[in-house]
Symmetry: D2
């Protein structure tokens, strides 16, 4: 398949939608990104990466970091994280406290804010510095040693972080945090603030398409764990629109309110698309449309 040609056609179709979404404005530091940005990249099984548009422009990964934090925890220890976080879609808004109360402090899945706080907490215990550990991991997997945190974004998150603090204290009240709440929240904010381009993210996520292998053949995750991560991404990766996303696109994916979406075609390739305009549920409008066009053109949905 001529990936470059496919990406160009996808971009041509999706780009007209960039102004339909709304740039995230819950923290000031995200508001100033231009809504006209659009980029898409694809990494194949050999680690070759193709791209179109703003595919080399760094943006705030936000919730996409949740997928890589989980991978890093799974790479370091076996299944113990699953005793503290579930694997079911949530059915309600991504930061809802209701379900957390019903389920006694066990988040439904690792891609809810609550679940990601538990994963960050575990990573903190395992590494002593969850945010630096994640940054080092992403530098290594993306092959880009320049990756860094965005201090303005991290600070802005902290200033507007009462909802996440509530989630963390609530889980702590059920005994489901190992580290002090302020430390967990801080590392979580730093993780979300990492800046990466579509090229970086597609490259770093290549192992998800290779059943756990890196492009050089070394193993990052067990094949079983890579498949399971894809399953959790498909059922829980796009906030409370996961059912709709599976119906429309049919690929495992993890989105972030920075406008990025990483998607996986198991056994074939990993994609990352970026466009800052979001729909009401927090997913990139042009990004989702691009992935929809991609699966239509290639026939490569998992279904």
């Amino acid at each position: 398949m001529d990936y470059q040609a496919v990406l160009e056609e996808v971009a041509d179709r999706a780009r007209p939608l960039v102004r339909q979404g709304r740039v995230a404005d819950y923290i000031p530091a995200l508001e100033c990104v231009s809504p006209d940005r659009f980029g898409i990249a694809l990494t194949d099984l050999n680690g070759e990466t193709y791209g179109v548009g703003d595919w080399e422009v760094p943006f705030s990964v936000q919730s996409i970091s949740k997928a890589f934090s989980l991978a890093l925890v799974l790479a370091q220890e076996d299944q113990s994280i699953w005793e503290r976080v579930g694997r079911e879609p949530s059915g309600t808004a991504f930061n809802s406290l209701v379900q957390l109360e019903w389920e006694q402090g066990i988040p439904r899945n690792p891609f809810l804010n609550s679940g990601a706080l538990v994963v960050t907490d575990r990573l903190q215990t395992l590494t002593g510095d969850a945010s630096t550990a994640l940054l080092d991991f992403l530098r290594e997997e993306s092959g880009n040693p320049e990756l860094s945190f965005d201090q303005a974004v991290a600070g802005s998150e902290a200033e507007h972080g009462d909802r996440n603090a509530a989630l963390a204290h609530f889980m702590a009240s059920f005994g489901n945090l190992e580290n002090p709440v302020p430390s967990v929240i801080e590392h979580y904010f730093w993780q979300c603030s990492i800046e990466m381009s579509c090229r970086d993210l597609a490259t770093a996520g290549g192992f998800l398409a290779r059943h756990g292998l890196r492009a050089d053949g070394t193993r990052l995750l067990h094949a079983r764990d890579a498949k399971r991560m894809n399953a959790v991404m498909l059922t829980c990766g796009t906030y409370d629109a996961a059912g709709e996303f599976a119906y429309r696109v049919g690929l495992p994916a993890k989105s972030g309110v920075g406008g990025g979406i990483v998607a996986v075609v198991p056994g074939r390739c990993t994609l990352c698309v970026w466009s800052p305009g979001l729909d009401a549920r927090g997913n990139s409008v042009a990004g989702a449309a691009a992935l929809d066009h991609f699966t239509t053109l290639t026939g490569w949905s998992v279904f």
Copy 2:
């Protein structure tokens, strides 16, 4: 692949679990099935069907009928059903009224009881006799003209049907039913009472693996709709254990409290497994284990 050999190995591994589950007892007519039953069947792209164990013994399809009702509605008219039922996993128990109240009478997905009542209601409008229409459809697609309703089961459902009546009246209060509540409920119960074997169900569900085509090459559903049905089955098909099922098995599937599970390997084959012992969430224990072994042996999860 030697399907017969694979099914035999799968059966050998899963059969020891038949006594671990618990036969459905919410209606008397289901209680008397022997927990020792185990059967599995597979239909390939050519319509060839393989089987092991009790694969030709009819059982009560129960909620598996929901997938076929939906297919029949989608085959008869375009996307209008999706205005009355969503496509998101529910996050709560399969017959919960809570979510229905939050969402103003629009069920989250067509595989909740509430959603299936809406689909049955639509089928009733389209055909004038939703249960007979479904039976005729299943006879045709399975190639088995002997398929029939189980009167004892349908009657037993009706006697214990207050929860479903509550759901139907509740949706009617929001204006989301077209036909009288008693009629919708009755047809719904008859649909659930249909008896089919693993052979019948795997054969009838073959179109899901063939992107909408029957074994003879005629088209039942648009490729797009067949893929979308698989997506909804993967995210919503196994009650509130869909996330877990995707994580563990990784195939689109629809289960029923009769102990059957239909699963799809898109582009390859459709399976049906049956064992009456259920886990706490209503899915067959040995059936889920069999599908888990199948994907492990073949490497054919969608992830």
Copy 3:
């Protein structure tokens, strides 16, 4: 105290508000009442009744019937009804199914629709004809043998009764109804359709101010039960505005969407006020204001 003068002053102050509320329109038969109606009546300990305005014009009692059904059940048997219905305020909308699901089919209190259906069900078991029994009781207690059902209202309720049918079937699914759902619902609708004037209702409710005694000194309820009914009316009698009503008026009361409110000054008198315009929570705007003026003028809140 010169009751007639007090009522006249109260009426003068409250009447200007009659157009601020909105006449109930959920059933056609209630819509056609003039919003300009206003009446108030007061029955003292001797059974003397005073009134102003439209105090002798019959209106639809609606949920006020719930208080009298409860009294009739309590008069016929001791505390057994409390095993099937609670005594706590609900905190949510008066016909919410959510709380009923959380509490496994036991309504929070007898003045929710669900709770009143349980009371009607019990009355049906005790008398064989719950609606006629209530009508006979109200004729007797009001001294008005002309009281009757409004067939148009009862029929209209039945046509728009899916929400109540859902509640009843839902409770039946938890085993909390003794009689068939259609019968319970029908008697419930007939009870709500009874027409009474402020004079009738104040007179019939006199026992609540007399600690269970009728004006002639015969006993209808134990003093203890009359006091307890007042307690339940104060905490649960005005839909989900009970806290606000206690705060503002400070009297036990039961309201109905026909625009009537019965209120009790324990040890002194029973009032009934009527004005069809309702606030967003279903309580009469001018009626609540009248009771507020009454307690301000007399100093007779229970607090």
Copy 4:
């Protein structure tokens, strides 16, 4: 009435129940109180105080402080607190986050933990030191300058305070706190830790029976506000058992998990009873029984 004799009879009847409840153990500092303690005090309209048993032994006031914080805010400024907290019973557990989410950060009433945090926050804004302000107020109103905080209790609360921190951060995320979360929580814990005896509390709460007047005739609250506080205590003062408490006892009351209950007979007297053994909803078992006996003996329920 011979108050001393009444209190003695009440104590004789209630004391046998002291071992039926369970001493609060959610913080270690409360666990060590002897379950055998029982005291009761009554302050009449003239400020004369009567008592029986351990009526002069200080105990941890816990949630009873919520009533006095509210009074202090109402004494300092008019109704503005009611824009930030409601007056409706909650219908769910006293520290539930669910309702707070539904109602967008506005607590249902000032006696929920969430509501009391808002009141403390307001008191902090008004006084600059909410806990000292409350202590000074209670010393003044009780006439006991020895009242003090219990440092062990306050520290213990803080160590186990994640649930309250979650509530506070959650409200802050809706913009419903004026002061920094850690400061609000700290003052809240100090308020709860104040130690007072039945004598102190009955004396300090005398204004609630005197329609806002102190025993010396000076005014603390408007009559209207004192009555309204009684209304809120009746509908919301005893956790999620307020309906039951109104039904059984029929007096405005505020309870605490230290085992104290302050109750009001408007126009007659204020009572305080103490016994550390709690029922499942957090109210003193022997204390509630004592108040029940008191209203039975005197006939002085508000109903």
